[in-house]
Amino acid sequence: MAKSKQDRYEQIKRFESDLTQCMKCGFCTFFCPVYQEERIEPSVARGKNMMIRGLLAGELDYTKEYAERLNKCTLCMACTANCPAKANIPNVIVAARADTVKARGLKFPYNIIYRWLLPRRTLFGRVVRFASWFQGIFLPRTEGTIRHLSMFLSALGKGRNIPQIAPKFLRQIVPVVNKPPEGVKTTMTVGYFTGCMTDFVLPDLGKHVIDFLNRNGVEVIVPQEQGCCGAPVFLGAGDFDTGRKMADSNVKAFEGLDYIISDCATCTSALKDYPKFLADTPEREEAYTRFASTVFDISQFLVDVLKLPASAYKPSAEAKGKKVTWHDPCHLSRHLGITSQPRQIIKSIPSVEYIEMPNADRCCGMAGTFSLYYYDLSKQIADKKVEAIKSTGADIVASSCPGCEIQLIDSLLRNRVPVKTMHIMELLA
């Protein structure tokens, strides 16, 4: 049965004002990390937007080439941030990806990963565990505290320095309810959205986050039913149906909690994007909107909600006496407008010297699955970030997005730059 026109462009139509807002001035070419490497029009927001207009006008169709061009965007939002017309083309791109998935379906192996594996947390964990046994055989092991799996199926064989999968996942080592130690008064309760990375790869980071919050009077709940935030599924791949399933189960897992924190910028931003992209019914709209309003990035929570005094920030052993620079994850800076809070925290740490890097908010090129599809391009984008980090003379580059961190570790190692990558929480004792 032929789908009606409305159906074919269902999601794009929801963002029509963004689509028409672009007046083709081409400013985005200067700020787009992908265009800056490729220097061709289909790479940049203006070109992608015009392609989508071409689709709506019936000049183009849901072809492989169309899907491919839409896919090649990190959703870093640098275009929108610098757009004189404030056209949010990343919105349009995500919506167009969703309509493309509807029209074309997902392709192997991503259909297996997105539709079947990511929504099943326990099974996903087992597969990750299984893959970890082989990781050492196929891939160079990384030094340092951060270990990672990445999307193992695709990353395998590409020669990337990826951190290892943890021997024990976070939720296997911490209880659901984590109360402040004796003698510390409980002032509030938060849910901890651990995200896949912290859960499977960085359980020590997760444990540290819980400890830090506990010591500062915060009770931390780690619901076992939470799953993947859905970013690679609905934002990356445009699979809104699966995205809704994941959103529903996450909303349910955190029911009754007024504050949810996350130490992953991508997760935080994706959770907050539920109402914008996934709300297809009034019920979901209401549930997602409420849920999104309770989600906080960890640094934002510490500074704006908990309002910790500067004295609460003491250096960890690794950070003591070091020069530290900050990389703004796109999902934190441009998506959520959180830029001052992490800087304030780092500057508060005694004995740590803060150095701002040039273009600190420029995309590192990771962008989740983007870096798997386009590893070479992703590396080129990352090399510019490495130059910026190098120019500061810092010992440590801090961030708060495990995705960015993986990219930074890989890129710094590849360029033989002896700067350590750390999560902002790891700077704190």
Binding site: M23, C25, T63
Partner: protein, 463 residues
């Protein structure tokens, strides 16, 4: 459709990745900054060297394939739209700054260098290249030369052609020719470099550009003045220019833009003002101080409300940002935006603004106004919809009236955008017929097969 063997040969010349042929990719080379025109090419080629450009031209010339040169496609004349299909030769991958010579005060660049990248590199060495089209974040220097572009700084510093010392040009038959050099003075033969400057890609492909530079002025100050009446603002500009002081920039913004910009990004602009002038002086600190005082005095006498210096750098930056956002405010305002680019003598600004008011009243079209008042180059703009045939025809007729009003005052058809497709129907009224004929003859000598950006500047004779 182009023959397969042409595509194969192009791929051989520039590499597989530098030839785009998918329908999707071609779609993204079908437009520029205008809203009236679109046409997709049959292939896009992105060379990286002069030799490659030469090879492409030879192939195109032998096979009589149209070639439309394109930089970043930020132009607003229709000039880079491949209206005849064929090849788009896009220079964005030729983006190396080849030389910056601080002692000689010159720089040599490839055509795809983006103006803002060039400015950033120059600033690091305390150098300054004044031509500043508002599209500086996107536009390329090759495009700037081909369109002879300019922007706000033109009041004091002139336009692109005033900075050119040398060009390398690939002709339609693929021959690579060098013109000019790196010296400021050069009186060798005809000034052929100027043939290609502002040629809108119809005479040759610019593959190397040598420009002269200035030291970065050590000081600058921004002033703002609010007016109840646009005509009074126009007169104020004339008064300043006649007073013996030359500001670096004088920009004019109307109430429509003030409101729209304030809506898009609230920054505290005076939304009640009917006109806003944003001015800048630059030079040595003492001169800047004195010039600014003189300008503020004249503004006050001219009837400006509270003319003043920007409080600090942040406020100055805010006003300049408002000015550059004006483009977005205007071009996003309707389905079809017809922007004029007339320039009138600077002592006729007030008179021109008055006539625009009359035309607006008579035609019923709102005429939006912003532009580079300091050089008499305003952009009267009409909002219409090309899908509404009747209204569009009326809009076109109103545009013609605006242009004729400018001509009557001694003005020109295009100050800085070029003719392209957008203004060619007026060319016959704006230029001596012998001169138009001479242009066509020059075109025939340089491009006998009429493959270089065909269909631009003058209307084709209907056969």
């Amino acid at each position: 459709m182009l023959e397969k063997k042409i595509i194969t040969q192009l791929r051989k010349a520039v590499g597989k990745d530098a030839v785009l042929t998918s329908k999707e990719d071609l779609n993204t080379y079908s437009y520029d900054g205008t809203t009236t025109w679109a046409h997709a090419p049959e292939v896009v080629v992105l060379p990286t060297t002069t030799e490659q450009v030469s090879q492409i031209m030879k192939l195109a010339d032998e096979n009589k394939i149209p070639v439309t040169p394109r930089g970043a496609g930020t132009n607003v004349s229709g000039g880079s739209i491949p209206i005849k299909g064929g090849i788009v030769l896009c220079t964005t991958k030729m983006n190396k700054i080849l030389d910056i010579n601080k002692t000689n005060l010159t720089a040599t660049v490839e055509p795809g260098v983006v103006l803002q990248d060039f400015n950033t590199a120059l600033a690091k060495q305390g150098l300054f290249y004044p031509p500043d089209p508002v599209s500086f974040f996107g536009c390329t220097l090759g495009g700037n030369v081909a369109e002879n572009s300019a922007g706000p700084y033109c009041v004091k510093y002139g336009v692109t052609k005033h900075y050119l010392l040398g060009l390398e040009v690939v002709l339609a038959n693929g021959y690579t020719m060098k013109l000019g050099g790196v010296t400021v003075k050069n009186r060798t033969g005809y000034e052929l470099m100027m043939l290609f400057t502002g040629s809108e890609g119809t005479l040759g492909l610019i593959t190397k550009i040598t420009v002269r530079l200035l030291p970065m002025p050590p000081a600058r100050k921004t002033m703002i003045a609010v007016f109840d009446d646009m005509e009074v603002a126009g007169q104020a500009v004339s008064d300043i220019m006649g007073s013996g002081v030359v500001p670096a920039k004088i920009e004019f913004v109307d109430n429509f833009v003030i409101r729209r910009v304030e809506e898009m990004t609230p920054m505290g602009l005076p939304v009640e003002a009917n006109a806003l002038l944003i001015l800048e002086t630059d030079g040595s600190p003492a001169a800047v101080e004195a010039d600014a005082q003189q300008i503020l005095d004249i503004l006050k006498k001219s009837g400006a409300k509270m003319p003043r210096l920007a409080k600090d750098d942040a406020e100055a930056a805010m006003f300049w940002k408002a000015r550059s956002a004006g483009f977005a405010a205007v071009f996003g305002a309707a389905h079809t935006v017809m922007a004029e680019d007339v320039a009138v003598p600077r002592d006729k600004l007030a008179e021109f603004i008055r006539r625009l008011g009359e035309i607006s009243k008579k035609s019923g079209f709102f005429i939006q106004l912003l532009g580079h008042a300091g050089d008499g180059n305003l952009h009267p703009t009409i909002f219409t919809d090309i899908r509404d045939k009747e209204q569009f025809a009326k809009a076109q007729e109103t545009m013609a009236e605006i242009f004729r009003a400018a001509m009557e005052l001694g003005g020109v058809l295009s100050g800085e955008h070029g003719i392209g497709l957008e203004k060619q129907r007026f060319l016959k009224e704006a230029m001596d017929p012998v001169a138009i004929d001479l242009m066509k003859k020059i075109k025939r000598i340089l491009d006998p097969n009429n493959i270089l950006n065909p269909g631009k500047i003058w209307e084709e004779e209907r056969v």
